[in-house]
Amino acid sequence: MSKTITIDGKTIPFMDGQTIMDAALAARVYIPHLCHNPEFKPHGSCKLCTVKANGRLVSSCTMPACEGMEVENGTKELNDERRDLVRMLFVEGNHLCPTCEKSGNCQLQAVAYCLGMMSPRYNHFYPQREVDASHPDVFLDRNRCILCELCVRASRDVDGKNVFGLSGRGIGSRLVVNSCSGRLGDSDFAVSDKAAQVCPTGAILIKRQGFKVPIGQRIYDHKTICQVESQGKTGGEEDE
């Protein structure tokens, strides 16, 4: 007989070694997240997946599931905190959804809608962020980077290239490229790399593809990210 936890009262099976997030994803229970992708090692940095497990706040992507664990996920208290986290992400970068080709396929935007974020609330930082268009096939727009490190993990763990990394501390943290010039075009990055496919926002974009998917056929046009993920599809990978 398998072990179980409960998430908002619903009994969910898990296997030893699985995190709360693993169990939730397998059972198609949506816990909001941005830095997590089941294909890569958990990171626990965005904190959106914070749940209350047996009364303690934990990151569900890194917290191992334990027999009988009682998890609170969709509570007003947690979603209010998550909404504030997303609001901070929006003002920390330069996220201009109306003109972003990722709009409709963007996990950040989808999570914000899902959590009921209808306005920024906080003052925008309007940071000066560098745009790197030097690669022949990929556009790197740091204005939209949320420092989830999915590209870092994909490049390191799947592509074996270590093209990306984070540099700086605190508000000065930024995505850097491992090349002599620091430019993507001078790295060995390739459009076929896994790291080119995993960005949850529009920070890493394949060139010459913009807006080819019409409105109405984008991932989150008709369903919330909660509905999409509850049906077992991983957001962030666009339909061709």
Binding site: P98, T99, C100, E101, V131, A133, S134, F139, G185, L205, K207, R208, Q209, G210, F211, K212, V213, P214, I215, G216, Q217
Partner: protein
């Protein structure tokens, strides 16, 4: 001409009357009048006081983003910017549009002009035309029209809605969609969508016809007044199809002087700067374009419905063509230079849109799947289109990394800048000069501006060239330093 009213000799001795904001136009503008003690007009200017700066902040963005980004210039005519930018990007990626892609774009554009013209005529202009320029202010608005002429108001709303539906079905959204992409479009029409549009098109043609009849009736009831209101003569510029037909989507540049003589014709717009220049004036964020060969003083011109209907040799749909002929022959051709004839020609164009939509909806290419093409890349692209308010020029340069490095947008309303100022001055002289000013009289100025259907928010892009004067004043009010930047961008102390 009334250039002498552009700048008064002794402005400090004159009283200032300001109309701000100018109402029932898109965007924010104001009119300033300088009058002496006897209320004689010494200066009349139409200012655009908002600032946009798209030409600057799109620098660095990937070219694929531009057609979607620049359409945010406007909420009324975004499709025009969307398509002009897409045409420029077609040139950059060396695309020759497939028949399906071009026809879907044309359909989107017809929908756009239909809804924009309906919006302007019924919502913005009809209160003046139906009630009178100095009628009761309380009902001189669309609500007043709806109360007094419910059928007309309802038709206006329905026509606009139909145009918006075409945009939704071709671009994904009624406002700020994504239908056109560099090299083509991202969706076709499904059979169900096509049939949905076909269902109502007959009614739209009939109502557009009624609108032409309405403006014709209003105009001809007081021909002399309407012909003479804000009257001046000017050149006209527009696109025209190779055979001289009216074409909103593509063609060569054609300019004709006030006597109907060609200044240029069938010009390849990809080198528009050889023929059209822009001047910056210190009192407006909107630039002043002029035809280079005729110089700054004589080279200004009008664009938009009046220019297009005057410039074209024929309209390629039967009912609109018949109405064009009626217009041209009306009262011995006296309306062809009239400011208020913009309304008349606008409705003829709306009829043409409705007919054009019907024609296109029967074309099987709208349902086709061959939507995209690509060729040899170039670093420069120019897209020109006839927007509802006139000729719209988008010009971009990209670098090898496919980022925008330079952009120049000459927007329809910008072409009409000098003409609108001219209309304001004519009306000021005709109706206000030497009189005690009333709201009704001041509305005459706004009526002249409204005739052009200006979109002020689209038209202000003089970033980096705006003349500035900075004064540093101490606590006693004494000037201790002063910095001046002139229209060429040069600074001096």
């Amino acid at each position: 001409m009334t250039f002498e009213l552009e700048t008064a000799a002794n402005p400090e001795n004159l009283k200032r009357v300001v109309i701000e904001p100018v109402t029932r136009v898109e965007g924010h503008g104001k009119v300033t009048l300088l009058l002496d003690e006897d209320n004689r007009i010494h200066q009349a200017r139409f200012h655009i006081v908002e600032f946009r700066g798209f030409e600057k902040f799109i620098q660095g963005r990937p070219y694929t983003e531009v057609p979607v980004l620049v359409q945010r210039l406007c909420g009324i005519c975004p499709v025009s910017h969307h398509l002009a930018a897409s045409k420029a990007m077609d040139m950059i990626i060396g695309a020759r549009l497939t028949p399906s892609a071009e026809k879907l774009r044309r359909l989107m554009h017809f929908g756009q002009i239909l809804q924009s013209h309906a919006l302007h005529f019924f919502y913005l202009a009809s209160p003046d035309l139906l009630f009178g320029f100095d009628s009761d202010l309380a009902r001189r608005n669309i609500a007043g029209v709806a109360a007094a002429y419910p059928d007309i108001a309802r038709q206006g709303v329905a026509l606009r809605k139909y145009g918006q539906e075409i945009i939704r079905l071709t671009a994904g959204k009624r406002v700020h969609g994504t239908g056109a992409i560099p090299g083509g479009v991202n969706k076709n029409l499904t059979l169900a969508e096509r049939d949905l549009l076909l269902k109502d098109i007959g009614q739209m043609i009939a109502w557009s016809r009624d609108a032409v009849e309405l403006i014709k009736k209003v105009y001809s009831e007081r021909t002399e007044f309407h012909n003479g209101f804000g009257y001046f003569r000017s050149s006209f510029m527009s696109l025209a199809r190779e055979d001289g037909a009216l074409d909103f989507y593509h063609g060569g540049l054609r300019a004709r002087d006030e006597h109907g003589q060609d200044i240029f014709d069938h010009l390849d717009y990809s080198h528009y700067w050889d023929y059209v220049h822009e001047e910056v004036k210190p009192w407006s964020y909107m630039k002043f374009p002029f035809i280079r060969s005729r110089g700054r003083e004589e080279g200004w011109y009008r664009v938009g419905p009046l220019a297009r209907v005057n410039n074209c040799d024929f309209i390629p749909t039967p009912q609109a063509e018949a109405e064009r002929r009626v217009f041209k022959e009306f009262d011995g051709g006296s309306a062809t230079q009239a400011t208020l004839a913009y309304h008349w020609t606008r409705m003829i164009e709306m009829l043409h849109c409705a007919e054009g939509i019907q024609e296109l909806l029967h074309d099987g290419d709208l349902l086709g799947d061959d939507l995209f093409s690509r060729g040899e890349r170039s670093l420069r692209g120019v897209g020109v289109i006839e927007a509802p308010r006139g000729t719209l020029i988008h010009h971009y340069r990209i670098n090898e990394d496919e980022q925008i490095v330079r952009a120049n947008l000459i927007v329809s309303t910008t072409h009409n800048n000098q003409a609108m100022n001219e209309a304001v001055r004519q009306v000021a002289l005709q109706y206000l000069d030497g009189k005690e000013l009333t709201e009704g009289l001041l509305n005459h100025i706004e009526v002249a501006i409204r005739a052009f259907d200006p979109c002020l928010s689209c038209a202000t892009h003089a970033l980096g060239k705006m003349p500035l004067e900075v004064e540093l004043i101490d606590a006693e009010g004494k000037e201790i330093d002063r910095l001046v930047r002139n229209a060429s961008g040069a600074c001096g102390v």
